[in-house]
Symmetry: C3
Subunit: 261 residues, 3 copies
């Protein structure tokens, strides 16, 4: 059984033709490499993917396949790596990430990685949604009822940031309050814990070390466990490179150790 | 009137078909998403763009639309995000950035963000120029008369950098003097103040926090105001992501506060 | 002779049509700009390339053309800049980098810059290999005999990292030992010194300043000289931008000065 499963998974993870992933080809985009392409250049790359990424990483019990999909998709969008995105979006749906959550992840990352990163992720998501007949009824509305806000905590945050940067950059301070913390973070289609996972993954994947402390604490307040945080980091080593993982590690250690157990 | 203007602007900013932007399609390139594509994936993304980016950010009085175009184009090139570039280059021309200035921005960013970033920006600029019949006569010459150099300040800079790094990396030190400060920065087709805006925008947009202090001081020496610096940062939050903006904020605050008013 | 050589080199370096580089066009990919395209947008960019990059940088004696090719290819893959990659891979072969070494560089960078960066480099390498009839017999096997391991040094490294991060992220610590230092680094198809050059180049090119100290020391243990280290930095200023070079410079200085001469 193993050889067959491995072959299929390989096809998905490093090769993934459109058919295998159930996605339509993105018109005009660079096509993703096939297993054959990879073997024609770097046989070891495929072997490592089989043995360690597919055969081990994605099966580790410390983080669910659904979470690993969220982490991977966030990293790819944050790094503007759209070639592999159709395949990983299709797998995210297979792993239980809802279309509405994918929609929300893309919107969220417009703010946390740059507007063009979100817009560049649209063609891949559009085609995956289309191939699975996912229509507007499965997407979150542009606006609607919000999650409840912890007014005291938000006031404290806004005051602190306002005192620091209100004189220097009033627009940044104002948008941070109005758009991010009193709007985006209150959208119900992505649970705060998952929104935090997306945010922390994007920060680690783009080397934004200075912003990890606040958001990892927020993630753990929102329910991310110590073990899951460690697995997110190990997972991102493969998808964002070892240097990003090791630059984030001391900050993650510091945050985790300072929290009450 | 408002609905129409909003629709047009939306079409420009997040969707922008070639016709709307007056640009020819870049052959072989990934096409930019249309409003319809975005609505098929993330209705909220389009709503946020309408309400906050088009409807508010670009209209803020603290930074001119021309400057906002320079900041945005610099950020896109620095981050190698070429899909949206044709549209933003067309709008830059509409907002008063001259073809010669666009040419110079691309050349400048070869040095400040990497050679391939500049070369990757060529197809978009070529097509926008072509569609508007902008010929070689409107471009700055490869070489020619230079702006006057402040010899004392340059000598001081060169001495300081030479003492620091001359032993370790003579080639870097030599090229910095010969190519950058005694050549590139003296090209007259882009005003020093605008060249500084391009540089600072690229640094913020790529998380180059350690290099901001020198270049923001230079920018303010060249005429960038405190208020404009704060607006550049708020603008880049949208185009390079909140983490880059917040990582730059303390450095910008420090620079601004240490300068005599 | 000079004008002809310069023209050819220019064609290679900033323009490089497929024919000139001996590469097949990458299907579906954005085509690289030609000299004509560049002149139609930024005549100065081409002039700078001629005078300083082709006419000077690549001819500097402190670092061999083969090394400069390795540094440049590593930087492009690390920054996911695939448009110029076919040309620089073809030149790498011309400069004496073996197909097996290119294969190994790509595999190595999957771990040091992110899996998608390696996969995105496959189409360019596949086409260059194909156009030169480079088959599987010239590629390193997926696995095979390894270089000898310095058990004492590796044990020391593993103990140090395990003490630091073993509690926080056991998966990262385990993979670092099993996959990187007891497998990837022991593959014989790329000499440890060259593997280190690839790693250090990728770190500098992506602004991973915090990881340079360990890997530059390792590179110099593996045979990289002080002079070569300085030339790598000057070379990367052009290919990864001045800010990355200047952010790395103090760390490189610190490493070099602390080593016994």
């Amino acid at each position: 059984m193993r050889p067959l499963a491995t072959t299929l998974l390989s096809f998905w993870l490093i090769a993934g033709g459109p058919a295998a992933a159930g996605t339509a080809a993105v018109k005009g985009a660079n096509p993703m490499s096939t297993s054959e392409d990879i073997r024609a250049v770097a046989p070891a790359l495929e072997a490592y993917a089989q043995k360690f990424v597919i055969g081990d990483l994605w099966k580790r019990p410390g983080l669910s396949p659904r979470d690993r999909s969220i982490v991977t998709v966030a990293a790819l969008i944050a790094r503007n790596q759209t070639v592999e995105l159709p395949d990983y979006l299709a797998r995210a749906l297979d792993n239980g990430v809802k279309p509405a959550e994918i929609s929300e992840i893309i919107t969220h990352l417009a703010f946390y990685t740059g507007w063009a990163n979100a817009v560049d992720a649209i063609p891949a998501a559009r085609d995956v949604f289309k191939s699975r007949n996912i229509g507007a009824d499965q997407l979150p509305p542009a606006s609607g009822p919000q999650l409840p806000l912890d007014e005291a905590a938000e006031k404290q945050r806004a005051t602190r940031v306002g005192e620091q940067f209100g004189q220097i950059t009033p627009s940044l301070v104002q948008y941070t309050t109005d758009v991010l913390f009193r709007d985006l973070w209150l959208r119900p289609a992505l649970a705060p814990r998952d929104r935090s996972v997306v945010t922390v993954s994007a920060l680690i994947a783009t080397g934004q070390v200075a912003q990890i402390t606040y958001h990892l604490n927020r993630a753990m307040d929102n329910g991310l466990t110590r073990e899951e945080a460690g697995e997110v980091l190990g997972h991102l080593a493969f998808y964002a490179g070892w240097p990003n993982a090791f630059s984030a590690a001391p900050v993650i250690k510091d945050v985790v150790e300072k929290r009450p157990r």
